[in-house]
Amino acid sequence: MSELPNIPGDFLSLLANQRLTPLKLESLESAPVETQATTVFALQFDGGVLMAGDRRATAGNNIVTETVDKVLEVDAISLLGIAGVPATAFEMARVLQSSFEYYRRSQLQQLSLSAKVRSLARLLRENMPMTMQGVGVVTPIFAGLEGARGARSSQPQIYFYDPLGAQFHAVSYAASGSGSNTIRSILSYQQRFGNPRPDTMEMKRAVQFALRLLNIAAEFDSATGGVNPETNHHATIKILDENGVKSVTPEQQAECYNL
């Protein structure tokens, strides 16, 4: 951190000036069983990007909680879906939230989408020692709208990462976490052969589709929590369209679930 140049509008530079270091975690030989967050995914639908996640966190065989929010609003036009170790992932989300808002307020303009995508890659790279030790692994997905002045695209875009920080642009969908293989398979099939394809679904149909995807992932992966409005088990679902981020409330989810 102390080697960072002092870049105007850069929150990590501000922290370095104040001698504050985020994400400085130390691992122990006798590290406890780490808590893991599980399944998140994002897909393009007719009205923008939908990002969803189950709400279960596990540590080994234990279910730690069923109320984690893994889809986070980083700013008014960016979403982050976290999979991996929540301690690190939530700290990354907090750093990103502070960074993007700090830049927007101090520089009086939005950070470009490319810079936001790279900011997350940079945090993942800084977390590499923890990743290589097998603790603190985070594999997030990111969705954002280009907010920089003079931007060419007003369509929200989806990105996914590997644990070392490589970033990839997803054309139609991305998924991460232990239930993601199931979800990716279904999304791949549905996007190629489905009718309707996810990218042509209207919002309510896309929400229903997302809830069903989570339930199917939960069938095959014990670390993914299912969805059932009758027992008050909901997902976290957020929509990113050209106007910014909106949350899909539990009531709206229940309505879509029973379409």
């Binding site: 922290l15 104040q18 504050l20 985020p22 609003e73 700013d75 008014a76 502070s98 307020r105 101090s106």
Partner: protein, 246 residues
């Protein structure tokens, strides 16, 4: 020059005169606490008078743009550092001003070999309800007054400021409508720009409204709105006249 107390006092007095002379052509800004939020109003060139500081905090000011920018950046840095190391709820205007920018301004003003800050400011903090809002009138020498409701005007001349603030408080009293409050503030802005006193001889409402419309044609009316019912952490939004139907 500063070996003798009298010389030092004289130097400070000269400095006060110099600052007041430098900012006398500055254009007024206003902050108004309403039941639905806080409005900050100024007329400039866009992003020049009214600024977002943090989730529930905003600033409006007049003076030298470079000095305004330095103070704005210092406040944004302090607020974000505080929020990151503690929590966003711990960012308080009283602390930002009382322990942050006010002592720095005072120090700077009294260090007579340094260039003084040429600024007059109002800072706003949105509370949970209207009675818990904070409006801080901060001066170039670091002195400040805290208000919890009503209107705060920032005008280069202190007599005009008191008059404008009194008139606006009377006019705005009981109003809950952002549109009418912005309109009234711009009427006061026009009166101040044209040197009209806020007494019985004040021009009619129609004249005042036509006046501010005409005078702002080549300028940007900057309106910051801290919305109390915002669903997001960041409660600030920049509004335009057309957003308000003006």
């Amino acid at each position: 020059m500063i070996e003798e107390p009298y010389r030092w006092l004289e130097a400070v007095a000269n400095r006060r005169e110099y600052v007041q002379d430098q900012i006398k052509s500055g254009t007024p800004v206003f902050a108004v606490s309403l039941s639905a939020g806080i409005a900050l109003i100024g007329v400039g060139s866009g992003d020049s008078k009214v600024f977002e500081l943090f989730d529930r905090h905003a600033l409006a000011g007049l003076g030298h743009p470079a000095d305004l920018e330095k103070i704005r950046q210092a406040l944004i840095d302090a607020a974000h550092t505080e929020a990151f190391t503690r929590a966003p709820e711990d960012v308080s205007l009283r602390r930002l001003v009382g322990f942050g920018v006010s002592p720095q301004l005072k120090n700077n003003f009294e260090q007579i070999f340094n260039a003084p800050y040429l600024v007059e400011l109002v800072l706003a903090e949105l509370g949970a309800n209207a009675g818990e809002d904070s409006l801080v009138r901060l001066h170039y020498d670091g002195s400040y007054q805290i208000y919890n409701s009503g209107v705060v005007a920032v005008v280069p001349a202190s007599e005009s400021e008191a008059e404008a603030q009194r008139w606006l408080n009377e006019q705005v009293s009981g109003s809950t409508d952002v549109r009418s409050v912005v309109d009234l503030s711009l009427q006061a802005w026009w009166c101040l720009s044209q040197g009209h006193a806020f007494d019985d001889a004040i021009p009619s409402q129609e004249e005042r409204q036509a006046g501010w419309r005409s005078l702002t044609e080549q300028r940007t009316v900057e309106i910051g709105w801290l919305a109390r019912d915002s669903q997001r952490h960041a409660c600030y939004a920049g509004l335009t006249l057309s957003d308000l139907g003006l």
